[in-house]
């Protein structure tokens, strides 16, 4: 057991469904469904109904997965839906894939990038963006493609700088649509 170490009752080898609310919490430090929905609503303005039919699961220490249906808990499987959020740290961090799936529904903390900025961001480069007036912390970075703003991934905004936290496996040299 590696992941779950130090988290009593949290077994890193299995998936446990998140408790609905804090009253039902049995495992210390585990996020609740309510907290997860509140977090998406507060940080990105995502309506809780977005996840009405989904269940949330923790595997290891703090990694939250989202599954489209319900099933008995715990589960000893290799995967339950997809990863959505990293909890058990001061600033929760959305996954790149969650932001790509639901980011178009976000109304807050979305930063629209120019074509050149989008290409740099997708390649994993950090960039100076002092013009951003919004919150610091995790943002959803988007660019315009085929007539809409499309989320590229998660950025971390600190001290006038937008850091690309696109994981290595998703970084890519992509065409600059401004050229």
């Amino acid at each position: 057991m590696s992941d779950g170490e130090g988290a009593p009752g949290n077994d890193g080898s299995q998936f446990d469904r998140l408790p609905a609310t804090a009253d039902e919490r049995e495992v210390e430090g585990r996020a609740t469904r309510e907290e997860v929905l509140d977090w998406w609503a507060e940080r990105f303005g995502l309506a809780p109904e977005t996840f009405a039919n989904h269940t949330f699961w923790e595997k290891g220490k703090g990694k939250i997965w989202v599954f489209a249906d319900d099933l008995p808990s715990p589960q000893e499987l290799e995967g339950v839906g997809m990863t959505v959020l990293r909890t058990r740290q001061e600033h929760w961090k959305p996954t790149t894939t969650a932001v790509r799936k639901w980011g178009h529904l976000a109304t807050e903390n979305v930063i629209e990038l120019s074509p050149g900025q989008a290409t740099a961001f997708a390649a994993g480069h950090d960039q100076e963006l002092p013009e951003w007036e919004g919150d610091w912390g995790y943002l959803i970075a988007t660019h315009e493609l085929a007539g809409d703003q499309v989320p590229i991934g998660v950025g971390l905004y600190l001290y006038d700088e937008l850091r690309s936290v696109v994981p290595k496996g998703y970084q890519e040299e992509l065409p600059d649509l401004g050229e």
């Binding site: 989202v66 995967g79 339950v80 996954t95 894939t97 790509r100 493609l145 992509l174 065409p175």
Partner: protein
């Protein structure tokens, strides 16, 4: 040039145009992507390719398939957004043949790396329960990566030997539909893997046929009466195709049913090397590379249970 080591000689008598088959097997396979309808529709993908200057050709028999002219799809914006996934044309048939309804429970017995699994997820509109199973942990991690990349949330990833698959842990006892995209000798992938024939032996064909029979039998058992099982391989060998069906038709309660193949194809063979198969295996579909300029493929659609079982009035 591929040296087929005589493998294609076996099938000369099965095809209408042997020279065309041999010529097609020499040509590299076109690079094709499938639109991930969970993220974008085909016209939006086309518009995005146009904006970035990526050349493609739309496939005439399927709205959501694009043949890429040159650039590797991995370096395009639609790929980066999870709007498309590399998947060759014939590989799109099994999920289409399986059929889908909202909220259904589907088992993909040999799922990794997940081209067909993620296509099934999209056809299911990312709802219901889709179990992607495979024995190989390494390939399962590729499956998980692909499913994440394409935004699939209705997938459970499981590592079991499909021949003795257990549904313990779920709150249901059978699946509505099951896909067996079986491990095989891969003869039909010769255009993609030019060394596919190098390792070919008849012993391996027989060995893998034993595994295929075991997996297909368990698939029929784990599917509800009236439910569907699709069996597919990317190989020409009747030992791994019609003979497997013939075996399972005798051992389990199921039958082969017709399905509408959107590509040019021929019927399953009912005899091979002196062995006769159940005549219904003719309802299966064989696709040779020269038919549609694709890889080779075999597909059969099975209905579980007797004539009327499980079919709601």
């Amino acid at each position: 040039m591929n040296d087929d080591g005589g493998v294609l000689d076996r099938y000369a008598s099965l095809v209408d145009d042997e020279a065309a088959l041999r010529a097609a097997c020499e040509r590299p396979l076109p690079s094709v992507v499938r639109v991930n309808t969970l993220a974008a529709d085909a016209d939006r993908v086309a518009r995005a390719f146009d904006e970035e200057g990526t050349d493609y050709e739309r496939v005439d028999w399927h709205d959501g398939l694009f043949r890429m002219a040159n650039r590797s799809p991995g370096t395009t914006w639609p790929y980066a957004h999870g709007w498309v996934h590399g998947q060759e044309e014939v590989s799109c048939l099994p999920a289409m043949a399986l059929g889908h309804e909202p909220g259904m429970r589907v088992w993909d017995t040999c799922a990794a790396p997940g081209s067909k699994t993620t296509q099934l997820a999209a056809l299911m509109d990312d709802s219901g329960v889709l179990v992607g199973n495979d024995t190989s942990l390494g390939r399962l991690s590729a499956l998980r990566h692909n499913a994440e990349r394409l935004g699939v949330t209705n997938l459970l990833v499981d590592q079991q030997d499909a021949r003795n698959y257990s549904l313990n842990g779920f709150d249901f006892e059978e699946f509505d539909a099951t896909l067996v995209d079986a491990p095989c000798s891969c003869e039909g992938t010769i255009r993609k893997n030019p060394d596919a024939f190098d390792t070919w032996t008849l012993d391996h064909v027989h060995e893998v046929a034993g595994i295929q029979k075991g997996i297909l039998r368990r698939a029929v058992q784990a599917t509800r009466p009236g439910g569907t099982v699709v069996y597919s391989t990317c190989t020409f060998a009747p030992e791994e195709n019609e003979a497997v069906l013939d075996h399972v038709l005798r051992e389990e309660d199921c039958r082969v049913v017709e399905w509408d193949c959107p590509l040019e194809s021929v019927d399953g063979v009912t005899e091979w090397h002196g062995e006769e198969f159940d005549p219904s295996v003719a309802k299966a579909t064989r696709i040779y590379p020269h038919h549609n300029d694709t890889g080779g493929f075999f597909l059969a659609k099975l209905r579980v249970g007797g004539e009327d079982e499980g079919v709601s009035a």
